[in-house]
């Protein structure tokens, strides 16, 4: 177990280019064990780019800076190597894979992340416990992965995966989108139950409503590929009331300078 306050994820001066265009312009962020951070920002501000860069999507090219997971620079690692080091990304748009059942997929990923076989009886027990918590019907397991799933079903499945894989760092990209209020509460409860001393969570969200249920320790505002403001949970309320326009003049000044 990581001692509290140990940095689990350290992003330093991260500059990222996508298809020739610089999208992240020097992001620095540190998530310590036990913390929940939220990143908010307008559409197109770079939130999703950040999440996929952390996971190692080949389309996102790191120009400079570093990403350290539990002290190890993971920049050169493939997405599966990062996942096996217990980094998890909850997708905003989970991908459908027809013909691959949810059960088969979950078993394969659990085996890969644990680096060991999962006995069928243990797997069944684990799944039964988690789907009960999340209110997922057992028939989910025989359906094809995200194929024909509603937005809410996809997000519940992402949450189930996070619970099963027990990551050290979980990045949740717009996990609240596509959820009705009941589903949002279930997913938020799940995120809260995963708050742990040996884990850090990065919530990426567009709206404040997720933060009504999951109170972050820190909120950061991302505009045009830079973090322009970092503050405590009270910032969410201010953003809801004032929007993002009042932060536009901070875009050119690094957050560190502003203190």
């Amino acid at each position: 177990m990581q001692p509290l306050n140990t940095p689990l994820l350290e992003i330093t001066d991260l500059v990222v280019r996508v298809e020739g265009k610089t999208v992240l312009n020097g992001i620095s962020l540190t998530l310590k064990a036990g913390e929940v951070h939220a990143i908010m920002g307008r559409n197109g501000s770079g939130k999703t780019t950040l999440s996929h860069t952390l996971m190692g999507h080949p389309k996102y090219e790191v120009i400079s800076g570093s990403i350290k997971l539990k002290g190890e620079d993971i920049k050169g690692l493939s997405p599966d190597e990062r996942a096996r080091r217990r980094l998890f990304l909850g997708f905003q748009y989970p991908v459908a894979i027809p013909g691959v059942t949810v059960a088969n997929f979950l078993r394969s990923s659990l085996r890969a992340v644990r680096k060991d076989e999962v006995p069928p009886s243990e797997f069944r027990k684990l799944i039964r416990k988690e789907i009960t918590t999340l209110g997922i019907p057992e028939t989910f397991m025989t359906r094809f992965l995200n194929d024909g799933f509603s937005g809410g079903e996809k997000k519940r499945l992402e949450t189930l995966q996070m619970r099963l894989l027990q990551p050290s760092v979980a990045v949740l990209d717009e996990t609240d989108s596509g959820l009705d209020i009941d589903a949002l509460r279930t997913v938020a409860d799940s995120v809260n139950s995963l708050r742990a001393e040996d884990r850090a969570i990065l919530l990426i969200t567009h709206y404040q409503r997720m933060l009504d249920y999951v109170q972050p320790d820190h909120i950061h505002v991302l505009l045009d590929g830079r973090i322009v403001k970092s503050a405590g949970p009270e910032l969410a309320k201010t953003l809801e009331e004032k929007g993002y326009d009042w932060l536009d003049n901070l875009k050119t000044t690094p957050a560190a300078v502003r203190g």
Binding site: P58, A83, L89, V95, I97
Partner: protein
């Protein structure tokens, strides 16, 4: 005046339906050696004989609960091999039948294989053909299906091996209410080529045919589809479609699809289409983000792509798992009966 014997009606035959198990394997090699395994003798009502190919006949009203299998083995010494499989199901009978074509070594050989299937009224056949010739083989397979009134034919061809494979399938819905479903898969590697000429003809009313083919082409392999649905003037209320879905694993692999329709009457429901795409990199990435390696991710995606066909294969003879393994890359392995 002599007594006359009345032939029982199909309903009477069905009610009395003798149900028998088989699970038999008939094996034949390119030197003409023929043997039956899995049963000392065939149950009454099922005949398997050899005459330059296997002939299978199921008598009226007989239902087989276990599949019958034909194993065709090409010996390394063969330079040319021709054979014909004939399957005939009499009125109201049913059978599941598997053909496996295979050989060992990299034999350079020409194979000419024909399969003729006839289903009488109300008969039901599930036919699975696994083509896994050695890599030097050029083969030409001709399949002719004649399906009678209210009879149902399900065909699952799986093409895996050989250098060049040309498969011609002529399906005839000959009796009112007849139905043919063909759902196949092909996996190409190296410089393998597959050519498919698929013709489905509807000549009477109220018939149905479906044709789905899934191909996975890697390396420099090539597949060409020529599909034709032909509906004659007498074929009103036909319901037919042909579809080929193709997955490219390599930029050098090629797939060409030419679906065609010839329709001489109104009041039909017909559709056709083809799609060709590489493995979706977003799918690979998503699986990788869950710790699954890129190689295993590709295997899972191919497995998923071919799943609709795999589900149609029998579990008996370990067929489904052997074909599943072969479709994602590993050799299918010789059926145990030919281990020597």
């Amino acid at each position: 005046m002599g007594a006359t014997t009345r032939k029982p009606s199909l309903r009477e035959v069905s009610d009395a339906a003798p149900i028998i198990a088989t699970g038999c394997t008939a094996r034949l090699d390119s030197q003409g050696d023929f043997a039956l395994e899995g049963c000392r003798e065939m149950p009454a009502g099922v005949q398997i004989t050899n005459s330059e190919g296997l002939q299978i006949r199921v008598a009226r009203g007989i239902h087989c609960t276990l599949p019958v299998r034909g194993l065709y083995k090409l010996k390394p010494s063969a330079k040319i091999w021709s054979f014909t499989t004939v399957i005939h199901l009499e009125e109201g009978s049913s059978l599941e039948y598997v053909d496996e074509y295979f050989g060992t070594g990299s034999t350079a050989c020409t194979v000419q294989a024909a399969t003729r299937i006839t289903l009488e009224a109300g008969a039901k056949l599930k036919y699975q053909a696994i083509l896994q010739w050695p890599e030097g083989v050029q083969s030409k397979h001709t399949q002719v299906f004649n399906v009678g009134r209210d009879a149902t034919l399900e065909v699952t061809p799986i093409l895996l091996g050989g250098l060049q494979t040309h498969l011609t399938t002529e399906s005839h819905c000959l009796g009112k209410g007849s139905s043919i479903q063909i759902s196949g898969a092909a996996k190409g590697k190296n410089k393998q080529t597959f050519e498919f000429d698929i013709i489905t003809e509807h000549s009477v009313t109220d018939t149905k045919s479906t044709f789905d083919y899934l191909t996975v082409m890697g390396d420099q392999s090539k597949a060409v589809f020529n599909g034709l649905i032909r509906i004659l003037q007498s074929g009103a209320r036909t319901d037919a479609y042909q579809k080929s879905k193709n997955l490219l694993l390599s930029p050098q692999a090629t797939i060409e699809a030419f679906p065609k329709l010839e329709i001489a009457t109104d009041d039909v429901k017909v559709a056709h289409g083809a799609s060709i795409s590489p493995v979706n990199p977003d799918q690979i990435y998503y699986l990788q983000s869950r710790g699954i390696s890129a190689l295993e991710a590709e295997t899972m995606i191919i497995d998923g792509f071919t799943e609709p066909v795999l589900t149609r294969l029998t579990e008996v003879f370990d067929l489904k798992s052997r074909v599943s393994t072969a479709l994602v890359g590993a050799p299918i392995g010789s059926p145990r009966e030919f281990a020597t």
